[in-house]
Symmetry: C2
Subunit: 254 residues, 2 copies
């Protein structure tokens, strides 16, 4: 169960850092075939960071980009993490579909790949989410994304608060199985905190430098939360140093 695994490893590693394995093969050096290029890259990152994180996040897009070889590397990366660590894995799939089809995705990502948690897009409503929850897996629902065109729908009329309320209601029903993705600034977290009773936050890449991190921490420190960093760690010249730096910055702000 994601939530319990997270609580345990957060204590052990004293860390709120999630490392995002956005392992785009075009950014990885080496002459190997695509499968080994991605898989070996991930093994190295996992080994260098596993004592300083509370979860790993794998975005399926970067594996699908590499085709069958990449998807095989995704599957085997999950296996590697499970065999060698106790760190929970979020598969960042942002899928959405009707009940019957959502079940097919859940068959793959939960039953076969054995994700501890998956990210989901809630636009299609409850029946696009429950097939995962009914398999006892954890989900992170998109509530507020930080991309520029979040303004098109998510920010408009504070739709993110509606999405937060929807997610909290699901978490009341499926205890500790629902978290929310919130790429927010200080002010928005204040609003969301009023609705979020007990859901864990997945916070995508905020600038680890500058005031953003400090302000965010001010808002979330009384909740459960993980802060994701992908490129800043995995494509750093010194991934271990980078993850420790981020961990310490976060802990220093708490």
């Amino acid at each position: 169960m994601f939530y319990n695994k997270y609580l345990k490893i957060k204590e052990k590693n004293n860390s709120h850092v999630c490392v995002g394995l956005d392992s785009d093969y075009e950014k990885i050096n080496g002459e190997e075939d695509l499968y080994n290029k991605i898989y070996n890259f991930n093994k190295n990152i996992i080994e260098k960071t596993k004592n300083h994180v509370c979860c790993f996040k794998i975005n399926s897009a970067f594996y699908e980009k590499a085709g069958i070889d990449g998807i095989k590397a995704m599957e085997d990366t999950v296996k590697y993490i499970k065999a060698n660590t106790e760190i929970p894995i979020i598969l960042d799939i942002k899928r959405s579909d009707i009940l019957n089809t959502a079940k097919a995705y859940a068959d793959y990502f939960v039953d076969k790949i054995k994700a501890d948690s998956v990210t989901l897009n809630p636009l299609m409503g409850r029946d696009s989410i429950t097939p995962y929850l009914e398999k006892d897996v954890h989900v992170f629902i998109l509530a507020l994304t930080s991309n520029p065109s979040a303004n098109d729908f998510i920010m408009k009329d504070k739709f993110y608060l509606t999405l937060t309320k929807f997610s909290q209601e699901l978490n009341n029903e499926f205890e500790n199985q629902v978290g929310i993705v919130v790429g927010a600034t200080n002010e928005k977290f204040k609003e969301i905190n009023k609705i979020n009773d007990n859901m864990i936050y997945l916070i995508p890449g905020i600038g680890a430098q500058g005031g953003d991190l400090k302000n965010t921490l001010e808002q979330v420190k009384d909740k459960e939360f993980v802060i994701n960093s992908s490129r800043g760690i995995i494509f750093s010249n010194e991934p271990e140093k980078s993850v420790i730096e981020l961990k310490n910055k976060i802990n220093g702000g708490l």
Copy 2:
């Protein structure tokens, strides 16, 4: 280009039918390995229906459900359709992600698999859609889905009209590259028609019997549209007979 291929084959086959290859391996008989089970099943359906459809739709969920073997069967099914027919292919992926990640998905589904069109979830806004359009591919944007929990967000405050307007604006900018998924009844199509200037409709499974089809056709007959049927055709005892029946029912209502 999806739109031109669709116009051409619609005339040639005198058909508005899209066959959805929701080829769930658990529903396919046979003793073969998963790859051959799915791929041979699809080849048979394609051969039996190719003279009576205007497009094929492939929902990635049912292929991912079967793991690597299924995904390989999905890739090869697209190749088979391209090599043996002139029928455009919609990859029903309903993906959503930020710009950089949407690009990675587009690299796979457009550049590698060579979809003619993909379905996308618009919740994250413009920058989750444009990476596909900039590769000159066609997209179908979810505007109104027909699942029960469409009531949670899409139906509320007529959000489907906002999504239709958003899609039409993109189609004004990327000419004939944008369509919308509308699983609607009579009344809703009336509203959507007022905003939809020139986008093609992708209409998911409406009851081929009864009044629903007739009422829907009444609303869409002056637009471009395709009506999808999946299980009703592919798991029919006589797929060819089933697709001809649906084609004739639709044409009879025009």
